[in-house]
Symmetry: C2
């Protein structure tokens, strides 16, 4: 498991005009923050200001031994590299020193992005310390929920907003990052997505010792309180609004299908999402916010 997110996003940059280009997730801990910044600054120039970095400690840890990092430094690596990334983002000339990377003595880093400040999101799993760090730094947070009962993560959202509000005048946006898939009917959505999902999960599971995926578990995750945004437009709208009651999140990022889907099916899922789900959710959230204020 590995990838070159900015390379893939650059290809997407030339085929799109409006969507934001975000990595999910750049494993900063085992990468060089200066290179990550340069890659995404280049992407920002190519996409006319649509790039953003989503930085995380990484749940896949294969990259640590490959690049010579010690898992014992899991947390201090991320802390330090995030600090350097923000330094490079906020200064054209960088002076920095730390424990895990060679120091930089007043060196210019190019290219600079088109956006005045390249957005850096912090992607977190379920670790409260990660939530506190994002909030303390005043960085937007993306909470990845790919299993279990999403509503159980609600306290992390509260922790984030409470911590951020103590330190910063404005609370940065929060995103939920989830798996999902849409079709004409909920049973179509499940029938089409499950075999692909199971194939990928079982392949990864072999290396990680997970139990085999079952259709029963999958269907359970596709119900209102489950973690997958899989269904027809009505079911997914209802589910997003249900989760919004707990999180009041400003953004939702859906990985459309785990595993390879036929191109036509993906295009259809995107169309349902853009033409039916997103407008309905936006309207309902706006109505709700207006009523609350």
């Amino acid at each position: 498991m590995s990838s070159a997110p900015a390379v893939v996003l650059a290809a997407a940059a030339r085929r799109t005009e409006r969507i934001r280009l975000t990595s999910a997730v750049s494993v900063l801990s085992s990468d060089d923050p200066v290179r990550v910044f340069q890659d995404f600054a280049t992407l920002d120039l190519l996409s006319e200001g649509r790039a953003e970095i989503m930085a995380g400690r990484g749940s896949f840890i294969e990259s640590f031994p490959l690049f010579g990092y010690d898992l014992a430094d899991y947390d201090s690596l991320f802390t330090e590299k995030l600090e350097l990334l923000l330094n490079v983002r906020d200064h054209e000339h960088v002076t920095w020193s730390g424990k895990h990377r060679a120091p930089i003595d007043s060196r210019a880093v190019y290219p600079r992005p088109l956006q005045e400040q390249l957005p850096v999101w912090i992607a977190v799993g379920g670790t409260p310390e990660s939530v506190t760090r994002a909030a303390t730094l005043g960085l937007p947070m993306a909470l990845a929920i790919i299993g279990g009962l999403p509503e159980r993560f609600a306290p992390l959202g509260q922790l984030y907003r409470r911590t951020a509000s103590r330190r910063h005048q404005t609370i940065p946006p929060m995103s939920l990052n989830m798996h999902g898939y849409l079709a004409e009917t909920t049973s179509d959505a499940i029938d089409e997505s499950y075999p692909r999902h199971a194939a990928v999960m079982n392949k990864i599971g072999l290396e990680r010792g997970w139990p085999p995926a079952t259709r029963e578990d999958y269907e359970e995750q596709c119900t209102l309180r489950g973690a997958y945004l899989v269904g027809d437009a009505t079911a997914v709208i209802e589910k997003i609004l249900y989760q919004h009651e707990f999180f009041a999140h400003e953004r939702l990022l859906i990985q459309l299908s785990v595993g390879t889907m036929p191109h036509d099916s993906m295009m259809r899922a995107i169309e349902i999402l853009g033409t039916e789900v997103a407008p309905a959710v936006r309207a309902e959230v706006a109505r709700h916010n207006a009523a609350a204020s």
Copy 2:
């Protein structure tokens, strides 16, 4: 001065169908060969097999202090990182150890490229040791000639072929990498390209203590024996064939203009190159080779 070549090339991959996507130059010495491989393997998948890596020691050395490398290791860094790059290219599971990078103990590196073997070219300036290294490893060589009298570099081409023929059954191709620009007339080509060229060269020269660019020097480089492939189709064809007498190179890579050109002018230069120069050069070289055999 820095860049994210695979990111830029990925954008180009989605706008083109046939041209090869090559970096000129990936400064391997101050980068991680595993990441470089992953970036270009991703690019290869995105472009359906059109990626190649052009690896060099780098004539711009700003990246060394930025990434914590010592210029005293200029040569050993490149040797070692090239060795790792070829190891990763040729093996899905890598075991490697060296002086300048953490060891790898039987780790898989993904993604793998579409091409069975991702091409790795060695870009050289004028150093005989670099030529010998490329030839000894049996790697194709790109000789960058961006000033002086190109014909003076001919002995490097001979050294390359002599060394390669002693070690390998087939001699890999050789490329000349040069600056150039084409227009309807040679004076148009010079008038349009000189101001841009001078602006870039003077900007870089300020940091490096070069003397200011002059129109006189530029025009000299645009003559038959000079280093810039600037002119109308006839002049550039004649010049390429003149150089071919010295080098018998299998490939020519032209950086079309130094500095920013209007888009229309670039498209026109590419058109002249593709419709007039390339066919004439290919025909003449084929005729020449047929006569010689």
